[in-house]
């Protein structure tokens, strides 16, 4: 055995598991300041991903913000129940999605009693912040991008809940069927079926607009070939 052996590269999952175990030990020892500091590393690593999932799920930035915060607080409080054999990412995503689901349910209950927000002639909700000047893309580009986002958002909203969840986790979050299965508790083959159905449905709804952009790009790439 030689002394200059290179230590194996630590994957993000292993790193997460180590930090989670450390935080758990620090909590048990009553060194709470250190525990919080270590947990802050986990928050920093998973925050953006969590925010994306929450925005996709609850379709509202403020709600997503609260859902992410609550999920991290809950994870810190229940870190004792975290099992090392399961990736922290999967465990945390499950907490986050359950929180988002609860939020959606309570939002639906609330909306029964609240008047709908002001909308324009096309039935699109008007955001007062849109009127503020900005140094971003041109108004035309912004309108087109907004229109595409709106269409996609509307199409995603038509998906059944499980299909939407599976599509979101596997496509936007880049998780494998096995990981999605671990998060959702569904069978792997069921995950694949849900994913396929979601894509087929979305293509049926968005087919024309996506095909138009796709065809332009396709032509360009084929010409390049």
């Amino acid at each position: 055995m030689t002394g200059d052996a290179v230590p194996p590269a630590v994957t993000t999952r292993e790193l997460d598991a180590r930090v989670a175990i450390d935080v758990k030990a620090l909590q048990a020892a009553g060194r709470l300041d250190e525990a919080r500091e270590r947990f802050g590393e986990l928050v920093g690593r998973h925050q953006r991903r969590a925010a994306r999932i929450a925005v996709h799920y609850v379709r509202d930035a403020a709600d997503a913000d609260e859902a992410v915060q609550d999920a991290f607080i809950k994870a810190y409080m229940h870190l004792g129940s975290f099992r090392e054999e399961l990736p922290f990412e999967v465990w945390f995503t499950r907490i986050l999605i359950n929180g988002c689901l609860d939020r959606l349910k309570s939002k639906k209950r609330r909306e029964r009693w609240i008047a709908p927000p002001p909308t324009d002639a096309n039935g699109v909700e008007r955001d007062p912040a849109e009127n503020l000047p900005s140094g971003g893309p041109s108004p035309e580009d912004r309108v087109l991008a907004d229109e595409r986002k709106r269409q996609l958002s509307a199409a995603l909203a038509t998906l059944p809940e499980r299909q939407r969840l599976v599509f979101m986790l596997s496509h936007f979050d880049g998780q494998t069927s096995r990981e999605v299965s671990a998060v959702t508790g569904l069978n792997e083959s069921t995950v694949r079926v849900h994913l396929f159905r979601a894509i087929r449905r979305l293509r049926a709804i968005l087919g024309t607009s996506a095909a138009s952009t796709g065809s332009v790009r396709g032509r360009t790439s084929r010409a390049a070939r």
């Binding site: 919080r36 928050v43 953006r48 925010a51 997503a64 992410v68 607080i73 986002k149 596997s170 087929r200």
Partner: protein, 196 residues
């Protein structure tokens, strides 16, 4: 190649197979041989990339780095509050002591109850006694009502005398007494010469 693909799709891959190609990255040999399926796979992959980019852009626009930083610090602040034991505001004990000094000796609440019960019993018994011994008999009340008062008798006698005198003076005049105790007046037929 799957049997279903060979039979129903002219040997081309199904949509589901194409989705798996795009999502898992496993590239079946057929895609390398068939230009149509290769184009379909490319087109599907491009569409998925487009959808993904749009969604991620909209999510990232909702959460710029400043907002994420604010969220991070907010999470840590909430965790800090969670770890701190909840503070209990101390009750102002010295005020209570002063109050006790002023009020003097304290009476046990049980004795207050006993006093109230005793008062009730005494009140009931006293009421019974006063009702029994202070009552007037009905016979006495009747006698007092029926017996004419001396004043009324005298006045009746006077009135009768006056009536008699008046009747002598004027025939056929009816005399009414104002006193309710006295009924009066006799009506006398005027004395005629015929003696009727």
């Amino acid at each position: 190649m799957r049997l279903a693909d060979a039979l129903f799709r002219g040997g081309h891959l199904s949509e589901q197979a194409l989705v798996e190609v795009c999502m898992t990255g496993d590239r079946p040999a057929h895609v390398d041989r068939c230009d149509i399926c290769a184009d379909r796979a490319v087109e599907l992959g491009r569409w998925l990339d487009d959808v993904r980019a749009t969604e991620i852009a909209s999510a990232d626009a909702a959460f710029p780095p400043e907002r994420l930083a604010a969220q991070h610090s907010q999470i840590l602040r909430r965790l800090e509050q969670l770890d701190q034991p909840s503070r209990v505001i101390a009750f102002p004990r010295h005020y209570r002591l002063d109050e006790r000094q002023h009020t003097g000796r304290r009476i046990a609440p049980a004795w207050v109850g006993v006093g109230v019960a005793a008062g009730l019993v005494v009140g009931v018994i006293g009421g019974q006694i006063s009702a029994r011994f202070g009552r007037v008999s009905p016979a006495a009340i009747d006698a007092a009502v029926t017996a004419p008062s001396p004043t009324a008798a005298e006045s009746a006698k006077d009135i009768a005398a006056i009536s008699k005198h008046d009747a002598e003076e004027s025939d056929g005049v009816r005399v009414f007494a104002l006193d309710p105790g006295v009924v009066l007046a006799s009506y006398r037929e005027p004395q005629t010469a015929g003696g009727r």
